[in-house]
């Protein structure tokens, strides 16, 4: 595996950051799409290089979502929606460079604090999880499923998306007994539905189709002009933002902690972290800078937080980590406690990549990527969508060199468009595809080894605790939703 400090890894991290920044900044192109299109390419790379780029993409795409918000008051990613009004106003009242600085430097601080918790949290959790058996894992995966479903806007639609993802994942071979199913005597389906092909279909092709359907291809390109508003861009971006950070240390710490914790919860992710933290700032009477600072710190801290259960338990915190876990499994790396004993060097590389991205890439490359992306935002949407379609084609073909995958992409892409337009969340579908086989495997193994005794699921203390967590989560979420409906 290539060393993280090799020139390939550093270059991958910088290019990954620029690529992530471009996708994050352009409204309509998301971090999920950026990652989905990159995965087929990453499969050809050394895992060390691939994961350096992936960490660069995921970290900067969330920060870059603010570029679209500063330029045209349209957040590039849902994680920036929580403070779009405030950051746009800062850009207008002060300077776009200052607004972008607030998007970048507190993000880097949030990310750095998140990384500290990632290291401590994942090491501790992995150590604790060594005692887990299939019963504990069953309840943990179920916790991921339950929180994922409740994280969706509509409970029933979230359930449908999750169950569809799980059903798609049943194609191929039964994970516990190895019996073939749902392959319809087609040799191309013997290994099941390829996760990455499905990813490109649901997040790549359906994204292109939705933009085409909504007429976004006709949108005029917009870029920022007069970045520094007559003052030095570097001063506005670095010095003024740093002064704001120094004046608000408590807000930085609070939102970083909150973001990391929310990111850690399965199904929550950066979007929720940004909303909760910026609302906290609003309720506390914070001004526009403080609201933005808390939102942007929190959503980047959450990125590191989502990696804690993903690395230590193999359970994704959000759609992005679900994709990354799919990539882990494709490369033959099994996340969970064993990863920390068998591949500790690789885990250390991930930690270091996160650290480098937080300390160096995000503030410095963030500055340059804001300038580069600002130029690229002038590329018309009709051309960008054509290029994304071309990338989807080559990405799909590159995975298995199999034209059949292109037919799968057409069918799933069309279905993805229908799901998007019908209000069915696609993130839950992908989470279902990752968690479904795990749930089935742990359930079947647990039942088989106890001679089909359902009571055995409640026989170990940690399993009982996790079962109670599931029940409490369901009860709390139903209560909150019912209260919300009554208030409305």
């Amino acid at each position: 595996m290539t060393n993280l400090f090799s020139w390939e890894s550093i270059l991958a991290m910088i290019l990954g950051s620029l690529y992530g920044a471009l996708f994050g900044a352009l409204p309509g192109l998301t971090a999920t799409l950026a990652l989905s299109l990159f995965i087929p390419f990453a499969l050809f790379l050394d895992p060390g290089v691939a994961f350096s780029a992936i960490i660069g993409i995921t970290a900067t795409a969330i920060f870059a979502g603010d570029i679209g918000a500063v330029a045209v008051r349209i957040p590039g990613t849902p994680a920036s929606a929580a403070y779009t009004e405030e950051i746009y106003d800062i850009g207008q009242e002060h300077s776009p460079a200052y607004a972008l600085g607030i998007a970048s430097i507190p993000s880097a601080i949030g990310s750095l604090i998140g990384v500290i918790f990632l290291v401590v949290g994942s090491l501790a959790l992995a150590q604790f999880a060594k005692q887990f058996s299939s019963f504990e894992y069953f309840w943990l995966v179920l916790l991921g499923v339950v929180s994922g479903i409740f994280a969706s806007e509509s409970l029933w639609k979230g359930t449908i998306s999750f169950a569809l993802g799980m059903l798609f994942a049943t194609m191929g071979v039964d994970p516990a007994l190895g019996i073939p199913r749902f392959n319809f005597d087609n040799p191309n389906l013997l290994g099941g539905l390829d996760f990455i092909v499905a990813l490109i279909a649901f997040f790549g092709i359906s994204e292109v189709l939705e933009n085409v359907y909504n007429g976004r291809a006709a949108e005029r390109p917009v870029g920022l002009t007069n970045l520094g508003a007559g003052k030095s861009i570097a001063h506005e971006y670095f010095v003024k933002t740093w002064q704001l950070c120094v004046a608000n240390p408590w807000r930085l710490i609070r939102s970083s902690l909150m973001g990391t914790f929310i990111g850690f919860l399965p199904g929550a992710g950066s979007d929720l972290a940004a909303w909760v933290s910026s609302n906290f700032a609003r309720m506390g009477g914070g001004n526009k800078e403080q609201v933005t600072l808390e939102g942007t710190t929190s959503n980047n801290a959450a990125v590191a937080g989502t990696w804690i259960p993903a690395l230590a338990l193999g359970i994704p915190g959000d759609t992005l980590t679900a994709i990354i876990l799919g990539m882990f499994l494709t490369l033959g790396i099994t996340p969970g406690p064993d990863l920390f004993t068998k591949n500790f060097g690789f885990v250390m590389q991930i930690y270091t990549a996160f650290f480098l991205v937080s300390v160096v890439i995000m503030p410095v490359a963030g500055y340059f990527s804001a300038l580069v992306v600002n130029q690229m935002m002038r590329i018309p949407m009709r051309v960008l969508l054509g290029v994304v379609a071309g990338l989807c084609l080559v990405g799909t073909y590159a995975i298995n060199n199999n034209p059949f995958d292109l037919m799968v992409v057409v069918v799933l892409g069309a279905f993805g468009l229908m799901l998007r337009k019908g209000g069915f969340p696609l993130g839950q579908l992908i989470l279902g595809m990752v968690l479904g086989p795990l749930l089935e495997q742990y359930m079947t193994v647990s039942l088989t080894k106890t001679n089909y005794d359902l009571g055995a699921f409640f026989s170990r203390p940690v399993a009982i605790f996790l079962a109670i967590c599931n029940i409490l989560l369901i009860a709390a979420m139903i209560y909150l939703r019912t209260r919300g409906t009554k208030k409305a």
Partner: protein, 154 residues
Amino acid sequence: MKETRVWETAVLAIVVFLSIGAWVVSGSFPKGDSPLVGPAVFPRVLGVILLVSSIAVFWQSRREALQASREATPSPEPEVRFNWFKLLRPIGVLVLFGFAPLLLANIGLLATVGIITVCVCLLLGAKPLETGIASLGMVGFVYLVFILLLKLQT
């Protein structure tokens, strides 16, 4: 009918078909030692969940529509009616992708990527110069990265 409801109904019809299909096809799988395990159990459970959730979404959506028509208050969201013509361009993109395996077999990856990028750009209303630059850029990128660097077989 409102646009979202048309899409929603179409998805629900597919979901119901898939759930019944999962139940029926699972019937031919080998049975396990207990009714609790075996290759058919999980798909059948998912089939039931999908069916119940589809009925719930349909019922909820219908109730909301009835309530809205009874109260006759203006909806905060403007009522967008379904426009079938808007589907032509997405269908065009899908048809192009459908032809890709045929193109790949006859003219290879580079030419296929170029043609698909040109066609999608033109379908989206891009100007000829923009289209040319985008497709040449894509072909160059695929050649450099996927063929030269990553040694992808074409």
